[in-house]
């Protein structure tokens, strides 16, 4: 059996406007796959397709060989594909512990067992001290870590991180890198990392897909992406030159 989360030939159009056209992407287990591209390239739409929030107009989405296009989001999560959101989207009226427990409840655990797992997860991430805080008032970085913890409950097979480093300082981004490495090594899931922080992506990813105007324009290891003329032209050219320096 193929151990990967894949989109093949996926297209999504909204009222005739093509958000994704014929996108093929593969997220293998125990690897970090990067997804980069300028704003509006369709990155989040692709994540929505992979997690059941957006039904593709055409094309296939497979989870370890099983077709999951059109499966509703909560079932996609139950099958082992977890995600985070750009805007955090914590349950602000609930405590941090309860935020994680919700995933346990959604996946069928009793509250007692869910609380135990949530406590263990918070400890594992290193934010056990936040357990009883209300999620609504958390600082930005903690909010991100809680969101990752919530997604990691019960060890999903795949984890899709939508711009986890947005708004983080350089040090915080380094810490995030370390966390993602631990997730791959210890939880053994396949990670899809959507990020604007190119340095972070080149540093951590095994394989990178570059999306532009709804199409994959380049695929390869970081070295190939760094060297790619097409990427430099389409993506870096539109960004500030400062980001070119990172390359």
């Amino acid at each position: 059996m193929v151990q990967s989360l894949s989109a093949s030939g996926v297209s999504v159009s909204f009222e005739g406007l093509k958000a994704l056209s014929n996108v093929t992407l593969d997220v293998p287990r125990e690897k970090v796959t990067g997804l980069i591209g300028p704003n509006g390239a369709g990155k989040t739409t692709l994540v929505n397709v992979l997690t059941g929030f957006q039904k593709p107009t055409s094309g296939q989405v497979t989870l370890d060989g099983e077709d999951i296009a059109g499966v509703p989001p909560h079932q996609v999560r139950q099958k082992g594909i977890a995600r985070t959101f750009q805007s955090g989207r914590l349950f602000s009226d609930l405590s941090v512990l309860d935020n994680l427990e919700v995933t346990g409840a959604g996946l069928g655990l009793s509250r007692g067992v869910a609380a135990k797992k949530a406590d263990d997860m918070l400890e594992w991430i290193g934010i056990g001290h936040l357990a009883e805080r209300m999620a609504g008032g958390l600082p930005y970085t903690d909010e991100r870590r809680v969101a990752i913890g919530r997604a990691l409950m019960l060890e999903p097979r795949y984890l899709l991180l939508d711009e986890p480093a947005a708004g983080m300082s350089a040090e915080e981004a380094v810490e995030l890198t370390r966390l993602i490495r631990r997730i791959v090594a210890e939880v053994k899931c396949g990670v899809l990392l959507i990020e604007h922080n190119i340095g972070l992506v080149l540093n951590i990813c095994d394989h990178i897909h570059v999306l532009d105007s709804g199409e994959v324009i380049e695929v390869g290891p970081p070295s190939a992406i760094k060297a790619s003329e097409k990427v430099r032209h389409a993506y870096m050219g539109t960004q500030a030159d400062a980001e070119g320096e990172v390359l």
Partner: protein, 356 residues
């Protein structure tokens, strides 16, 4: 790290406090021994049942329902059918099935049947309605109530249409009402700490993230809708036995308005809010009723025009919505003081603020 106490161990004081408040009211009625006061306390217990019933769905799901009083109507008529004397039924409600026409059950069975019947009805309606969300769901619940009330207002041979159904056995002692209010508080508490309650509150905060966490939102909403519908049915049956008369009009906008106001004033998202809202607004209603009747002030009689009650409730609700939208309880639960039991403990504030 230390083993975390279970959710039950952390929150049990809330139902205990609420039941203690209800017990004080029941004892007051018992020792006062006056009939009007006894009836007032019975009314409060019935409202506690209804408003807690609303809370189970509205508070946990965040979907406002304007139609729950429809289930109250179902419950009231169900117990009327089962507990009235066969002779009265045969003259007024000829269309009832023979087995109901010819028999008479104790009111306890009436309460049980009303609860189950309303719960089943909530399941049937909920199967369709719970696919909707937000304002569409709210309006659909309103339409549901209109459908129920219209059926009961026009099905002459079974409900007596618009005319009053009289002859329902009246229960004057306070204890059955107290027992039902306590049971309902316990059921609502159990639901709110259950995993279904937790998942539903998560969906109330962030529906998208809840779905991404594996929560089947329509299913969790349906569970709450059925439990709350059943409780509303029980409330309707208690109402029927408290006054002995039911008409479809009793269970329409007036009761919807009062019960929703109580929930809003107390704090929609907490069980404590539901109970306190009932107590506080009931006291206000009682004072105004007393003033409407007229108070003798050394020769001059002060009396308020009729209708002031509803106006006052409306004003209180608007004031709460403006100045304290999370209600008197601020959507928190009452917990035993001096212990940090709630999830809302304020740990030391972080140095770095939240950046947008």
């Amino acid at each position: 790290m230390a083993e975390r106490p279970s959710i039950l161990a952390r929150t049990w004081s809330t139902p205990v406090i609420l039941i203690a408040i209800l017990a004080v009211l029941a004892l007051a009625a018992y020792f006062a021994g006056s009939n009007p006061f006894n009836q007032t306390i019975i009314e409060i217990f019935i409202r506690v049942v209804l408003v807690v019933g609303l809370y189970v769905f509205i508070g946990n799901s965040g979907v406002i329902s304007f139609g729950h009083i429809g289930f109250t109507c179902l419950g009231a008529y169900m117990t009327a059918w089962l507990t009235m004397l066969p002779a009265i039924k045969k003259s007024k409600l000829k269309g009832l099935p023979d087995i109901i026409l010819n028999n008479k059950l104790d009111y306890g069975w009436g309460l049980l049947a009303a609860t189950i019947f309303a719960g089943v009805a909530a399941y049937v309606f909920g199967k369709v309605l719970m696919r909707l969300s937000g304002i569409a769901a709210s309006i659909a619940t309103f339409a549901m109530m209109a459908v129920i009330i219209q059926v009961y207002s026009n099905w002459d041979s079974v409900t007596g249409a618009q005319s009053s159904v009289v002859g329902i056995p009246i229960v004057r002692t306070v204890w059955p009402y107290f027992a039902c209010a306590v049971a309902v508080v316990l059921v609502a508490y159990a639901h709110s700490i259950s995993r279904s309650g937790l998942a539903l509150r998560a969906a109330r905060d962030e529906a998208t993230a809840a779905a991404a966490s594996g929560v089947d939102i329509p299913r969790e909403r349906l569970i709450a809708f059925v439990i709350s519908g059943a409780i509303m049915g029980l409330g309707g049956a208690l109402f029927a036995h408290s006054v002995g008369v039911v008409t479809p009009d009793t269970f329409y906008l007036g009761l919807t308005f009062i019960t929703l106001s109580m929930l809003v004033v107390g704090g929609m998202n907490s069980l404590s809010g539901a109970v306190l809202g009932v107590v506080v607004l009931s006291i206000i209603i009682q004072l105004l009723r007393w003033l409407e009747k007229g108070v003798d002030l050394g020769g001059a009689t002060l009396s308020l025009p009729l209708g002031v009650q509803e106006i006052a409730i409306g004003v209180v609700m608007i004031a709460i919505l403006m100045y304290r939208p999370s209600g008197l309880t601020r959507n928190r639960e009452l917990v035993w003081p001096s212990k940090r039991l709630s999830g809302g403990t304020k740990a030391s504030a972080p140095a770095d603020g939240k950046t947008a």
